[in-house]
């Protein structure tokens, strides 16, 4: 198949796109356009309609009404194959690679060979090298994919799209899985591609990335177009306001920490991950009353397993965990809860709530067997409803009623309810894992304020997050984890993005 002789597209327009799902208007007359040679950022909170819009561009959904126009010609994409044929490529958040095949094999997968029935992997590899060199995408075509880092796998995805002749590339939150350095490298590549005449759509909700990379930015909110602006004329505060619909504080004023006694102590902890290899290795950390310790790291470096050990879901193989002076190394979740620990889980729909339960039933998930919520095993719905209404009011949870199934709430509101449920128990230790992942800015800000209130009240907080901005905004000390090992602990006030990035990439802290 001749993949590159096609004329590259110069301009793509999406006009008056309307897409409805049962009960929801996901795109309400959205206009969007992108030209060759530019990076166009698509900015919006979760549920704003970014993904829906892009899925229509890629032929995964068909618009209910509206048109997609490429270089003046209206086009209808029945499937991604049509979109790919028109020169559209998409880099998904979750990579679509076959892990047991080499880079070249992955790139060639699904394409016809130039040598009939015989594979032409040498030629493929040669072209990959050419493309890689041109755009600074360092990848060995003969490497097997499972051996590659996440950043390298992303480069393979980009190469795959380029190899197929994509002249318009959609990148769905590409930096979510990268270290700051890797993200910088990616930006260099993307700029080079734009200079070379590619059109790029960059989906993100990270304002500084949008400002650093894009030429124009389109903001969506609640399925509607807010506007398209030249990035150079915008500030972070402008973008945040357009995205959320109101003024947003981007930094928090917080008094210096006054750490008290040690609340949570982790000593030489080892834990085996799901793949049977050590995921947490000789990890030690202390969290004191009245401080927030941030644990930074690139996704998949043992944070999840560490959080599972600390909440009693995973048994450690070695080491010791002390909670308020008590050895809880092998304690059950219930025992830890009783000892004053609360946890905000990483995957809220999997472990935080029961999605088919109502808001009310979810509000008592840990406390249902205590008075006043139940007496002699009989639930007291009057008390439970009153308690739930208090939580809903105190934490500004937006829900039609307390009896609504929690799955009908937005991610941010579900997270607020989890927070309300956990914090109302007046914990002495909080394990917060990715507390604002997938949560909109407004709710994130709210959750951060609540966590800082807990800090002021003397609670010890371990904040595990892959969002470095969040870590830096909330933490007093920052610990970095890489491949399950502690790379170092630095004072948040003096830590630079560069030094943290180096540690996140596996360099031990230098004195």
């Amino acid at each position: 198949m001749n993949t590159s002789a096609r004329t590259p597209l110069r301009e793509l327009k999406m006009v008056d796109i309307v897409k409805r799902f049962p009960g929801v208007l996901a795109n309400d007359g959205v206009n969007f356009d992108v030209r060759a040679g530019e990076v166009h950022a698509l900015l919006g909170e979760n549920g704003a309609g970014k993904s829906t819009l892009m899925r229509q561009l890629y032929g995964l959904y068909k618009p209910d009404s509206g048109q997609i126009i490429i270089d003046g010609q209206p086009r209808v994409f029945q499937s991604p194959a049509d979109a790919i044929h028109a020169g559209v490529g998409m880099i998904h958040q979750h990579f679509m690679l076959v892990s047991s095949l080499t880079v070249a094999e992955n790139v060639a997968l699904g394409l016809a060979s130039t040598r009939g029935p015989r594979l032409d992997l040498d030629r493929v590899a040669e072209r990959i090298r050419g493309l890689a060199e041109r755009y600074g995408l360092k990848v060995d075509p003969s490497a097997v994919v499972w051996q590659l880092s996440v950043g390298e796998q992303q480069r393979v995805e980009i190469l795959k799209a380029l190899y197929r002749g994509a002249s318009l590339l959609v990148l769905d939150e590409p930096t979510a899985v990268l270290t700051p350095q890797e993200a910088q490298e990616l930006f260099v590549t993307l700029r080079q591609m734009a200079d070379d005449g590619h059109a790029l759509i960059f989906i993100s909700h990270k304002l500084h990335e949008v400002l650093a990379l894009s030429h124009r930015v389109t903001v969506l909110r609640d399925g509607r177009l807010v506007g398209t602006y030249p990035t150079a004329e915008m500030t972070r505060a402008d973008l945040a306001r357009l995205m959320v619909g109101r003024e947003v504080l981007l930094q928090y004023d917080r008094p210096p920490a006054q750490p008290g006694e040690t609340r949570l102590q982790i000593d030489g902890l080892w834990a085996i991950g799901d793949r049977g290899v050590d995921a947490v290795r000789d990890f030690s950390l202390t969290v004191r009353a009245g401080e927030v310790v941030g644990l930074a790291g690139v996704s998949g470096n043992g944070q999840r397993e560490l959080a599972e050990v600390l909440t009693g879901l995973r048994q450690p193989s070695r080491g010791k965990v002390t909670l308020n002076g008590r050895d809880v190394t092998h304690a059950s979740p219930a025992e830890r809860i009783a000892a004053g620990q609360c946890a905000i889980p990483e995957e809220r729909m999997r472990t935080g709530v029961i999605k088919d339960f109502s808001v009310l039933e979810n509000a008592i998930l840990c406390d249902h067997s205590h008075r006043p919520f139940s007496r002699n095993t009989v639930l007291n719905f009057g008390e439970i409803a009153a308690h739930t209404r208090r939580l809903i009011a105190d934490y500004a949870v937006k829900t039609p009623t307390a009896e609504t199934p929690i799955k009908n709430l937005s991610g941010g509101n579900i997270q607020k309810l989890i927070l309300a449920r956990e914090l109302c128990r007046k914990p002495t230790v909080i394990i917060a894992a990715q507390p604002t992942r997938g949560v909109d800015i407004g709710a994130s800000e709210y959750i951060h304020h609540r966590l800082l209130e807990q800090r002021a009240a003397g609670t010890a907080t371990l904040l595990i997050s892959e969002d470095l901005d969040e870590i830096r905004a909330l933490s007093d000390r920052i610990a970095v984890i890489f491949e399950g090992r502690l790379m170092g602990v630095v004072d948040a006030a003096t830590a630079t993005a560069e030094s943290l990035g180096l540690m996140m990439a596996g360099t031990r802290q230098t004195e």
């Binding site: 799902f21 049962p22 009960g23 929801v24 996901a26 979760n46 549920g47 993904s51 829906t52 909110r221 609640d222 959320v244 619909g245 109101r246 909440t311 879901l313 059950s332 979740p333 219930a334 830890r336 809860i337 009783a338 946890a343 889980p345 999997r350 472990t351 935080g352 709530v353 029961i354 999605k355 088919d356 339960f357 039933e361 008592i364 998930l365 840990c366 249902h368 067997s369 139940s374 095993t377 009989v378 639930l379 719905f381 937006k398 829900t399 039609p400 609504t404 199934p405 799955k407 009908n408 709430l409 937005s410 509101n413 407004g442």
Partner: protein
């Protein structure tokens, strides 16, 4: 419109949609499924040379058209309701109990043994027999429960195997230790126990019919199970474990213990069904006592949407199908297997339509 109101209206619109799906359509769909199954059955009837109108009217007449027919329907519905309650508790706890048949048999054996051998006066004997039935069934549910909790053994397989063990146990006891001495004397050696003492019998509600107090007990139990599941911490935990074991564990609920409890309670209700069948209908334990109630109860539970109160009409309907099917078989001379096939079709359509409805509801939820 402010962001707040738009989010609220969006969520309200979504939940209204979900309610619509789960509300009137949810109730209509199983009824429509039955109608479609009966229509397919009609085609088969025509193929067999029978008149489907005559067949179905005799079925309806047989099940609901007379006092004797309707009471027989209720008598049949009673064990279905009790087994179905046990199935419902287990399913709500996220465990699949296919062992109703075995649990029912063991419950019947235990109730008969208690009635025959315990020297208790009057109503105490009845009470003891009922409790023995509950305990027997609970034991039969506890074994798969413990195997699952301790060793992770799949409860579907173990409950099915426990059915076989129960059948063989009944075979042995009814031919050996528990056989009616009169059968031995007469030399006929039919595999059944002696007639139970009249003190242990459940009261008959309508003269010259089999309708007995067990039906009322079953209704009370349906309400009790509703209360258990939705008004107590135990039921709350069972449902939490069933819907999301990960979140339940995270919240400190001992998941395995509650899965085991769900299987034990499931067994207890099937055991009670066996006891009621012995004490209310047969007044003795005999081979083939169950007649497949342990399996039909699962179907009734699914038909009742795994809700204890929904199970009441569902089990009456299924009781009616079983009783009316008998009548139909006699009036239009079709093979017995057709009734079984009809019930199978109903199950297929009910479960299938339920699956489709749930997928549609899920699609309505996950729009982004």
């Amino acid at each position: 419109m402010s962001e707040a109101t738009s989010v609220v209206t969006r969520a309200a619109a979504r939940s209204a949609w979900a309610r619509r799906l789960q509300g009137w359509q949810g109730a209509l769909v199983p009824v429509a499924a039955v109608v479609v199954a009966l229509m397919i059955g009609a085609v088969v009837l025509v193929g067999l040379g029978a008149d489907p109108v005559k067949a179905y009217s005799s079925m309806l007449e047989g099940a609901f058209g007379s006092v004797s027919g309707f009471t027989q329907t209720l008598v049949t519905a009673t064990p279905l309701l009790l087994v179905g309650l046990g199935v419902t508790i287990a399913f709500r706890g996220g465990v699949i109990n296919i062992g109703g048949e075995g649990q029912l048999i063991v419950g019947a054996l235990a109730a008969s043994a208690a009635a025959l051998y315990l020297p208790l006066p009057g109503v105490l004997l009845l009470l003891a027999a009922l409790i023995a039935g509950v305990l027997g069934g609970a034991l039969w549910g506890a074994v798969p429960g413990a195997l699952k909790a301790q060793l992770g053994v799949n409860e579907i397989l173990s409950t099915i195997m426990m059915n076989q063990i129960a059948i063989q146990l009944a075979n042995y006891l009814l031919r050996g230790p528990m056989i009616d001495p009169k059968e031995v004397e007469a030399g006929t050696r039919i595999a059944q126990s002696a007639l139970l003492p009249a003190d242990s019998w459940l009261v008959r509600l309508v003269p010259r019919t089999l309708l007995h107090g067990g039906s009322i007990l079953a209704l009370v139990m349906a309400v009790a199970v509703f209360f258990l599941l939705w008004r107590t911490t135990v039921g709350y935990r069972i449902r939490a474990v069933g819907l999301n074991p990960d979140a339940a564990r995270y919240a400190g609920i001992p998941v395995k213990r509650y899965q085991m409890l769900a299987l034990i309670l499931g067994g207890a209700f099937a055991g009670l069904a066996g006891a009621v069948e012995v004490l209310g209908v047969q007044h003795r334990m005999l081979e083939g006592l169950s007649g497949g109630y342990g399996f039909s109860g699962i179907v009734a539970a699914l038909f009742g949407k795994l809700h204890p109160l929904g199970l009441i009409p569902a089990s009456v309907l299924f009781g009616g199908l079983l009783v009316g099917g008998d009548k139909m078989q006699r009036s239009v001379q079709v093979p017995d297997a057709l009734i079984v096939a009809l019930l199978g079709l109903v199950v297929l359509f009910v479960v299938g339509s339920d699956y489709i409805m749930r997928k549609r509801a899920a699609k309505a939820q996950s729009h982004e």
